[in-house]
């Protein structure tokens, strides 16, 4: 049945965005130039969200199809299912034989083809010359509506994912450290909980894949983002033509989750065949959209300034050879992580203590200048990222864009007080998890857990 009625347009926002950066309340203001980039959002009758960002001044068009399902939705015992489905979606569809997807994109002069599986979303992205947009939308609609799934594709996807994961974890320094840290930061009931010792890949069947697709890969649970040299009305008509008749149920409603939880003050010791000891310290943090999450973004930028607080406290004193802080912001919970590679002969405990002191100090002594610099750096980077259609589509497809179209004002209201409060409330010593990696060539590069203890 064709749902061919004119698109039911919900213009949630269609606006030129005027960008004017204001700085921390206590610092000198600096203006950046204006930027006008219109964005339109529509919904087709079958529930598919369509977001368009036209700009005649650029030279290409980027399409991202986002399905609001990710590895956080893997059923228990089927860990890896979302990632496996992403791989299999490149295997072909009813009208696109195996291997032809790539070739069609290349015949059109496309590039930047990729699929990514995150905790909350799976994205398919490609960039084409603007005149080839119909082909790309046709390919994506065939993939959404009529994927071809068979046992050979399932086996091939399992092989490639196992290979991919070996490269990402077993062969990388710190490869297993983040999965181990996340297994502690997110309790077993949380969808982001990882069990590094467990993979459900082998047990996944074709029936599981089909069921997952039917449950989650429906227009009502999907977003089509098109940015670049496009005519908005013509693109919307193409979206209606190719996607408008695809059916699908509403996705399951996910239950609510607690906003925060207390953790045992755990310390994990690992051994790894790396050249130096490493330390990773993490804290669970509020989800994306929470003001505290945004304040922690700025806190991470201040700590990670190329010659900033962590560098002065650890690198300049010869305690580490590298150190980094970051807030991993996600829709159902975030994690603040500081990681470091220790210098020769420096015990990991010394580095742990120095990190803890630096974080405590941040809450007491943050300056307006540091805050202003972090925000200015972030705002300039955000602006420059929007130069290309790919950058614009990528930003729009992030969950950040639901808060504000281009996200350029995200940190306007955050000053030293907000940051200090966030640091005190979230980055408490009692709520942290530490992972210490001792270098030892008896173990693989990715690392092995040797012990776990809970501190009072």
């Amino acid at each position: 049945m064709r749902l061919g009625a004119p698109a039911h347009i919900r213009a949630l926002f269609a606006a030129g965005v005027l960008f004017a950066l204001s700085l921390c309340p206590d610092s000198e203001a600096r203006d950046l130039p204006g930027l006008s980039l219109p964005v339109e959002q529509h919904a087709l009758a079958n529930g598919l969200h369509v977001v368009l960002a036209p700009d005649p001044a650029v030279d290409s068009a980027t399409v991202i199809v986002r399905y609001d399902v990710g590895s956080g939705d893997d059923p228990t015992g089927k860990e890896g299912l979302a990632h496996l489905v992403e791989h299999m979606m490149f295997d072909g569809s009813r009208h696109v034989p195996h291997g032809e997807y790539w070739r069609w994109i290349e015949r059109a002069g496309g590039s930047g083809i990729n699929g990514t599986t995150a905790l909350d979303a799976t994205r398919y992205v490609a960039n084409v010359p603007p005149e080839q947009l119909p082909l790309l939308l046709w390919l994506e609609s065939d993939r959404m509506g009529f994927p071809v799934l068979d046992e050979d594709g399932l086996r091939r996807a399992k092989t490639l994912i196992a290979d991919e994961m070996r490269g990402k974890t077993g062969d990388q320094s710190m490869g297993w450290v983040m999965p181990v840290l996340f297994s502690e930061l997110f309790p077993s009931w949380h969808p982001y909980h990882m069990d590094p010792g467990r993979s459900g890949l082998d047990g996944i069947t074709l029936a599981d894949v089909r069921a997952f697709l039917r449950t989650w890969y429906a227009p009502r649970n999907a977003w089509l983002f098109v940015a670049g040299k496009i005519d908005a009305a013509a693109t919307l008509a193409l979206a209606e033509k190719y996607f408008g008749d695809l059916p699908g149920d509403a996705p399951p409603v996910r239950p609510g989750l607690p906003r925060s939880w207390r953790l045992p003050h755990a310390r994990i010791v690992m051994g790894a065949g790396v050249l130096r000891d490493r330390v990773a310290i993490g804290w669970p943090a509020p989800p994306l959209g929470d003001p505290v999450d945004a304040a922690l973004d700025v806190a991470a930028a201040i700590l990670s300034d190329p010659s900033g607080r962590l560098q002065r406290a650890l690198l300049a004193k010869g305690l580490v050879v590298s150190v980094h802080a970051g807030e991993s912001s996600q829709s159902r919970g975030s994690a603040f992580v500081i990681s470091a590679v220790t210098a020769d002969g420096v015990p990991a405990e010394v580095v742990e203590d120095a990190i803890e002191r630096t974080v405590d100090d941040l809450a007491k002594t943050i300056t307006p200048e540091e805050c202003a610099r972090a925000r200015s750096e972030w705002a300039t980077t955000a602006l420059l990222r929007l130069q290309t259609p790919a950058g614009r589509a990528s930003h729009l497809s992030s969950f950040d864009s639901a808060l504000e179209p281009w996200g350029l004002h995200k940190y306007d209201a955050i000053g030293p007080g907000e940051i200090a409060s966030a640091v005190r409330s979230v980055l408490a010593p009692s709520n942290r998890v530490s992972v210490v990696v001792h270098h030892d060539n008896r173990y693989p590069t990715g690392g092995v857990v040797l012990s776990r203890e809970e501190r009072p």
């Binding site: 790539w102 069609w104 290349e106 015949r107 062969d171 010792g197 399951p252 239950p255 010659s307 590069t445």
Partner: protein, 483 residues
């Protein structure tokens, strides 16, 4: 190894979980509902075949304005007023100052010590490779003076506290010494050592290099001269604005008394045709076929670029399809060309599943032989052309992309006009030309093979018919003997 790792991790974590209260699942099992309701028009005529491809659009026109400062620094400006931002890149050919056989290593250290911005300097970076050093910065419209000022500070002076440079040097030397055991860095070193020898700047690899700060200062004094440099500014600025600002920040930068000597081209590749660095630090095996190619100024350059694209430059390429999709021998397969002033280096490689390292490598060699033996099909040629042109266009989508690309290409001896004309030259390449350059540059006698990985999975390497693999250390410097 992986199973043991998983088992250990699992046992520790499961043990830990057992000590906790029973988990309460908050996320219920997923609802595996069947499709109901309407069916899509999957047999509609518009679904049966893809929309016809549109004709290729024109390549974007780029106008380059050029002038020289009183100190001889060449300045190129590309005005782009569609977005409120700008970028600049200063690129310096260090070849003339890099005649010593440790030059490549010293340049890398120079960048780690002196070309990293001090605290508070935003959107600015620097680095050095075998060909040149760069300093770049970017900002919004109106930031031109800040951008060029930051670059001049970083390229021409020392703004960080003196102790900071001492610390950076100590860390740089330490990290350099430890990098000899790093599989990825060793892979790249051995590749270059095979192609250029380990006493040339393009391929130089020295385990024991411990320069002083003054050594690096001396290199910087000799290498960073305006006559060997080009400054490119791209974005929402005018040439007049750039001229005024560039004169303020770079106007007093003067050339040395006499011209510097051009670097000698690398000697002909000789010695081992197949080499292996043995390490158990990775579970996969890194492998590549490498060969020297034409210079960027050579008429063969567009066809060579297209050939490399066709071999492994995209998911639809020959080696990607054969080695990854059909043989399932590697997760990642790719190809690249690195252009040097007097030559180029092609690499076609992958990260192989260890049990398939030799068969996967054979797949790469077969892909090369296939293009040598028969001209590629028109479809394969057309796909490769469109992909290569598309990559060029995307590289030119940002101000910083244009600045970096133009600065680097100009230092290779290519005119700015020719740099932007490369996509058009690629569109003009024929199938026969691709086969001809494959025969000329990828003849089996010109190919070298590199492996990095567990020797247990390389014992059948002689099946590749490249002779007995030579075992090297992680610097590509010491040939240990056969596997």
């Amino acid at each position: 190894m992986t199973k043991r790792l998983l088992a250990l991790v699992a046992s520790v974590l499961l043990g830990a979980c057992a000590a906790q209260p029973p988990a309460r699942p908050l996320v219920p099992p997923l609802r595996y509902a069947g499709l109901d309701g309407h069916a899509p028009s999957e047999d509609a005529p518009f679904r049966a075949s893809p929309p016809a491809l549109a004709d290729e659009g024109p390549l974007p026109a780029v106008t380059v304005q050029s002038f020289a400062l009183p100190g001889s620094l060449r300045v190129l400006v590309v005005e782009r007023h569609g977005f409120p931002a700008l970028a600049a890149q200063l690129e310096t050919d260090i070849g003339p100052a890099d005649a010593g056989d440790v030059g490549g290593v010293l340049a890398g250290m120079l960048s780690s010590v002196f070309l990293r911005p001090p605290e508070g300097v935003l959107q600015t970076s620097g680095g050095c490779g075998a060909v040149g050093c760069f300093v770049s910065s970017r900002g919004a419209t109106g930031d031109l003076d800040d951008v060029l000022g930051r670059m001049a500070d970083l390229a021409l002076s020392e703004r960080a506290p003196a102790a900071e440079y001492d610390r950076r040097l100590a860390t740089t030397i330490k990290q350099y010494e430890m990098s000899g055991a790093d599989p990825g860095q060793s892979f790249s070193r051995v590749e270059r050592a095979l192609l250029f020898g380990n006493r040339h700047a393009y391929g130089s690899n020295h385990k024991a290099v411990r320069p002083s700060l003054d050594d690096l200062r001396d290199l910087r004094r000799r290498a960073f001269v305006p006559t060997s440099s080009v400054l490119v500014v791209v974005g929402d600025v005018t040439a007049d604005e750039v001229k005024a600002s560039a004169e303020r920040h770079f106007g007093s930068w003067t050339a040395p008394a006499g011209p510097l000597a051009a670097p000698a081209p690398p000697p002909d590749a000789s010695g081992a045709r197949i080499a292996a660095f043995h390490t158990r630090a990775i579970s996969q095996v890194l492998g590549a076929v490498v060969a020297r190619g034409p210079t960027r100024r050579d008429p063969d350059a567009p066809a060579f670029q297209l050939l490399v694209e066709m071999l492994g430059g995209s998911p639809g390429s020959i080696a990607f399809q054969e080695v990854r999709e059909d043989m399932e021998a590697a997760y990642s397969v790719g190809s690249s060309v690195v252009w040097y002033p007097t030559t180029s280096a092609m690499a076609l490689g992958g990260s192989f599943e260890r049990g398939q390292a030799i068969t996967g490598m054979q797949g790469l060699l077969d892909a090369i032989r296939g293009v040598r033996d028969a001209a590629p099909s028109e479809d394969a040629l057309a796909r490769a052309k469109r992909t290569a042109v598309s990559k060029s266009r995307r590289a030119f989508e940002t101000n910083e992309g244009i600045a970096a690309s133009l600065a680097h290409t100009v230092l290779l001896g290519v005119t700015p006009e020719a740099a932007f004309d490369f996509p058009r030259q690629i569109r003009a390449v024929t199938s026969a030309q691709v086969q001809a350059v494959a025969a000329r540059y990828l003849d089996v006698a010109r190919l070298h093979v590199v492996f990095v990985g567990d020797p247990e999975y390389l014992v059948t390497a002689q099946a590749l018919r490249f002779g007995m693999p030579m075992r090297t250390d992680g610097w590509g410097e010491r040939w240990i003997g056969g596997t």
